[in-house]
């Protein structure tokens, strides 16, 4: 029978992962079983610790916010927007919900029965990959860290992915084992002698009965719960999860997530009734895959030449692309990418230090400014950096400064080779103006704060987003303390920062049209950076400075912190944080699409849905600008 409603559901689902990976007939099959749920603002869909529904959800209209409750504290984890999926992981791992899901605004969500979804997606390789990566990405989320161990995987190219995943796993043959009759002490001696973190307990016929890991010994023995003479049977985890040796990497990961274990026992026929032949740990799985952030970070740390780093750094863009394709939350993406950017800089500095004839004469610290300082740099951008060195005596000053200028010269040159363009405004540590001693920096900031003017503000604002990357950590902290001390005396800076924050008016014109560029190369395109991102970045900087919040540079995180500090504006700040993440993701996607910085958006290339989404992000920009104008007495 014809079902118009399910066709309507189909039309929506087919655009979003993981459904877009399925053939049309399968999506239709799912569509006809969907539950359409209307939620008024504030309505709860599920609560933390509720037993899981038999459905997972995709947002059709509106937004659903996910919260984590712990010790009377409620933290916003994410806001799911049109097309975003939530509530799936608990269904796969058969756990209760670990978050609250609440309608952030009036919303319609589709409930998708897991049984139907599993039936149609079973053995679908792409779907499994999608699920794995999206679950795995949450391992960077502190809240799910614990459950997740290290099963973190990402892949570079599709070919590579298919290869590595369909490849049988490389398990450890001849695993360490002991009999059921052994005592814990005997087992522990074996483990420590072999420097191995786990031991399999087997019976007389060599059938695996249980497993003991380092953490069992830590949690059950060292705490005094059991004595070391106890039988291994008392503390072993049992039964073990067994698999046959032809297991693929992909299956292995799924099994580990499903059963929440870090070890699989490999037996002759894959059941627990046959002989143990090996063991597979999540480290083995990780090692089978070449390209995940952990491995990339290690490669960077070991690189010996700038050229090597460039090759490794180039992989990161592919990683980024696959993250965006798979709709992984931007907060996770930027954490990973900025971690990588920082370690690139660190490695470059280490290599540059080796090029110098002598070790540094005094302590120094390397700071990232601007987007890298804010940990918002996803694509290659200009390098903005600065260097602080310890105060010296008058006579040593010049030699010291020259040393660090030379070092900074090496570093910026290498960074340039790797792909970070020189800053056109010369805001780099290799510029004598931005390579100074601690007291000079203090004076510089005091000067900016007290004698600020229109010209100085343009230059100085990115310096307020400095972030320590390498070297001594106390000097940047001292600088921060000094800044806040001076800020007490004067609020002139706030007025200027405020003016800057409202300088670029709401991105929508009078008729709710996008304001586009009037001239130049990018005529008629929309500049998402100056019109949308910069106003939010400026607003966040001003508000954190005036609230004396230090050491948070990321714009989204700044707004989240502000929401806690000023509960009366909580809703606005949270929506600013959300809008910022959405806009940055948008810019990054555009950048990857056009192979540029993504700053300029061709409006006609956007779908109606994308335009609407963009427009929705503009609302908080207008609102925050209004708040600032009133608070800092600004007139536009």
């Amino acid at each position: 029978m014809k079902n118009t409603i399910s066709e309507r559901v189909y039309d929506f689902l087919k655009n979003y992962p993981p459904f877009n990976l399925l053939p049309a007939t399968k999506i239709l099959e799912i569509s006809s079983e969907v539950k359409i749920i209307y939620l008024e603002k504030g309505k709860v869909l599920f609560n933390q610790n509720d037993t899981n529904h038999k459905h997972f959800y995709i947002v059709r209209n509106g937004g659903i916010s996910l919260h984590k409750n712990s010790q009377n504290k409620r933290t916003l984890i994410d806001i799911c927007d049109g097309g975003d999926i939530f509530g799936l992981r608990p269904l796969i791992s058969k756990e209760n919900y670990s978050l609250d899901a609440i309608a952030n605004e009036e919303s319609i969500v589709y409930g998708i029965p897991i049984t139907i979804f599993e039936a149609v997606s079973e053995n679908n390789f792409k779907i499994n990959k999608y699920l794995l990566t999206s679950f795995a990405s949450t391992s960077f989320d502190p809240y799910t860290n614990e459950q997740n161990n290290n099963i973190f995987t990402d892949y570079i190219s599709k070919d590579n992915l298919e290869y590595s995943n369909l490849h049988s796993v490389n398990y450890t043959k001849k695993p360490l084992k002991c009999t059921v009759k052994s005592t814990i002490k005997e087992a522990a001696i074996k483990m420590s002698a072999q420097k191995i973190g786990c031991i399999v307990v087997v019976d007389d016929k060599c059938l695996p009965k249980g497993i003991i890991t380092n953490s069992d010994i830590k949690n059950k023995i060292a705490t005094g719960l059991f004595s070391i003479d106890t039988s291994v049977k008392e503390i072993m985890s049992s039964p073990v999860i067994t698999q046959s040796k032809n297991l693929t990497v992909l299956d292995a990961q799924l099994q580990m997530i499903k059963h929440k274990v870090g070890h699989l026992c490999i037996t002759v026929d894959g059941t627990s009734n046959s002989k143990l032949i090996g063991i597979l740990t999540n480290h083995d799985v990780l090692a089978s895959l070449g390209n995940n952030p952990t491995v990339i970070l290690k490669e960077i740390k070991r690189a010996k030449k700038t050229k090597e780093i460039r090759e490794i750094r180039n992989k990161v863009n592919l990683l980024l692309k696959s993250y965006l394709e798979q709709n992984i939350p931007l907060s996770h993406i930027s954490k990973i990418i900025s971690e990588i950017n920082d370690s690139v800089t660190i490695r470059v500095i280490e290599l540059s230090l080796k090029k110098m004839d002598t070790p540094p004469p005094v302590k120094f610290s390397w700071m990232a400014l601007g987007s890298q300082g804010r940990k918002e740099q996803l694509l290659y951008t200009d390098q903005d950096n600065a260097l602080i060195f310890e105060d010296t005596t008058q006579e040593d000053y010049l030699a010291t400064k020259n040393y660090f200028l030379k070092l900074a010269g090496h570093v910026t040159k290498s960074l340039h080779k790797i792909g970070y363009e020189y800053c056109s405004a010369e805001m780099m540590a290799s510029n004598p103006e931005w390579c100074m001693s601690l007291s000079e920096w203090k004076n510089q900031f005091n000067d900016w704060i007290i004698n600020i003017d229109e010209k100085a503000i343009l230059l100085s604002s990115i310096f307020f987003d400095f972030n320590h990357v390498y070297g001594d950590i106390t000097m940047p902290k001292e600088l921060t303390t000094n800044i806040f001390k001076t800020l007490n005396k004067s609020s002139r800076l706030f007025t200027f920062l405020g003016k800057e924050a409202i300088a670029s008016p709401s991105p929508l014109g009078f008729f709710k049209q996008f304001l586009v560029e009037n001239n130049g190369d990018h005529k008629d395109s929309f500049n998402i950076k100056t019109r949308a991102l910069i106003p939010l970045i400026n607003a966040a900087r001003l508000l954190t400075l005036s609230n004396k919040i230090s050491e948070i540079n990321n714009t989204a995180q700044r707004f989240e912190r502000l929401a806690e500090v000023e509960p009366q504006n909580k809703e606005l700040y949270q929506s600013c944080s959300y809008a910022f993440k959405a806009l940055l993701k948008f810019k990054t996607k555009q950048g990857i699409l056009h192979n540029d910085s993504g700053k300029f958006i061709q409006l006609e290339s956007l779908t109606k849905e994308e335009k609407l989404k963009l427009k929705r992000c503009f609302k908080p920009i207008r609102e925050i600008q209004e708040v600032l104008s009133i608070r800092y007495n600004l007139t536009i």
Binding site: K2, N3, I5, R8, K35, I36, I37, E106, I108, G111
Partner: protein
């Protein structure tokens, strides 16, 4: 006595499917809104004349506690001798169309079974109820007995007294614009039923801001 006898005879003449429908209506319990089953429905017709025009398709969905189950929706296309070329552009149903069509009587039987004792919801619901009643009449059966809610009237009610305008006529398109509902699938019976359902849910939540909305507030 005579009256009684007369009624008895009438009941005997009623077919089983209608008796079952009557019985379910008789057994209706008073329930709070969140436990009430609403059937939102719409008909596509050859025109607006109650006697002369015919129902070409019926689309309906049921909802309870703000949830619509897609697999429990209702959609039938009806074979009719009367056909008006001029309304085809509106509903897109051709005389020999691609949809499987069933007889009017079969459509009626399925519809009665589907709605049971639910509350019927529609945009200008009286028209659709009248069209269904005409089908019942042609089959020598009494009228529909369900309670009905008209989203056009309900919407007026949800507006602040200052903005209420008794004269204003709210079409389904007006409603979509004001409540920000996408208009795709407009003018198919099921599509309109779905849109009406979403409108109904949105109006309910507006009326229920205080959380004390009672079922009787919805009627008339």
């Amino acid at each position: 006595m005579i009256f009684n006898w007369f009624r008895k005879r009438e009941q005997l003449l009623l077919p089983n499917y209608f008796l079952a429908y009557q019985e379910s209506i008789a057994n209706t319990k008073k329930l709070p809104i969140e436990e009430t089953r609403f059937v939102v429905f719409d008909t596509e017709t050859t025109g607006f004349l109650r006697k002369k025009d015919r129902v070409l398709s019926i689309g309906a969905i049921s909802l309870k506690d703000n949830i619509i189950n897609v697999n429990a929706s209702f959609e039938v296309y009806v074979k009719q001798k009367i056909f008006k070329a001029e309304t085809v552009p509106i509903h897109g149903i051709l005389k020999e169309g691609k949809f499987d069509k069933i007889t009017e009587l079969n459509a009626l039987k399925l519809f009665l079974k589907y709605i049971g004792n639910s509350v019927l919801v529609g945009h200008h619901v009286n028209f659709d109820v009248q069209m269904m009643n005409e089908i019942l009449k042609r089959n020598k059966l009494p009228k529909l007995l369900n309670k009905t809610v008209d989203t056009a009237l309900l919407y007026k009610k949800s507006k602040h007294t200052i903005y209420q305008n008794e004269e204003k006529h709210y079409s389904l398109d007006n409603l979509c614009d004001e409540l920000n509902i996408s208009k795709s699938d407009r003018h198919t019976a099921s599509g309109d039923a779905y849109i009406t359902a979403i409108a109904f849910l949105k109006i309910l939540s507006r009326l229920n801001k205080k959380g004390d909305l009672k079922f009787r507030d919805l009627l008339a």
